[in-house]
Amino acid sequence: MGNHAHIRMLSRSNNVGLARLAAASFASELDFTLNELEEIKVAVSEAVTNCIIHAYPLEEGIIEIDLRIEGEELIIVVEDKGVGIEDLEAVLQPNYSTKEEHMGLGLAFIDSFMDRFQLSSEPGKGTVVKMYKIPEKLKNRQEELS
């Protein structure tokens, strides 16, 4: 099984809902529960919100969202060409935040709701967040078989 979709959007806050709905709709091709689809929506919302707030703080830019199904795994890549992150290690610390109302919860939610994620960034060039998730039902079946 495999599928691919790509979304290219402006870093506008009213595009966040579209991004998460598209991701959840795409993911529903796999055997995710409604609860897991909600988790995917939160993860995408956080990744896209980070682009809007942090990557393009002063002007609109482009956010690329790549949705892929490889075998039974969902892979979501959210990429911007914004300011980039100076200190990746600091960003990955719990509760790290540069904005008072943002609390540093965004990446923590991504970490909790996706099976794994990778963050790469280059100052002045942009940031890429790659997130992976396999349906829980499938993981359970795999465990039973092993």
Binding site: S13, N14, G17, K41, V42, S45, T49, M103, L105, F109
Partner: protein, 117 residues
């Protein structure tokens, strides 16, 4: 996001409907924040029974109100949390600092009894 507010004594009831994220948080800032900063308000009762989605931006907005009210001896009370919204709120540690009730009526009853005690 659709937001209505109602003042009942020192309790500000805010009823939210829709999704609370970076796109809609501005409505929260405009409709809830200024009223919650009026001198007579001690408790902000957030009725979230019609909120279907929340992320860290929404959490940040609610925590901002908690910080403000806590400084003047007040609090934020949550009601009507849907399972998904509750999960996010719980993960953010908010249920440890904000009382949660199944309905607005129950919250108002409890707060009323607390006041008389």
């Amino acid at each position: 996001m659709d937001i209505t507010t109602e003042l009942e004594g020192n309790i500000l009831i805010a009823r939210l409907a829709g999704e609370l994220d970076i796109d809609t948080v501005q409505a929260f800032r405009e409709k809830v924040v200024p009223v919650s900063e009026e001198p007579g308000v001690k408790i902000l009762l957030l009725n979230l029974s019609r909120v279907s989605f929340i992320d860290s931006t929404g959490i940040g907005a609610i925590l901002g109100r908690y910080r403000f009210l806590e400084k003047k001896g007040g609090k934020v009370v949550l009601t009507g949390l849907k399972a998904q919204v509750k999960k996010i709120i719980k993960m953010a540690g908010m249920l440890e600092i904000m009382p949660e009730y199944s309905s607005e009526e129950k919250a108002l009853n409890e707060i009323g009894e607390g006041r008389m005690a």
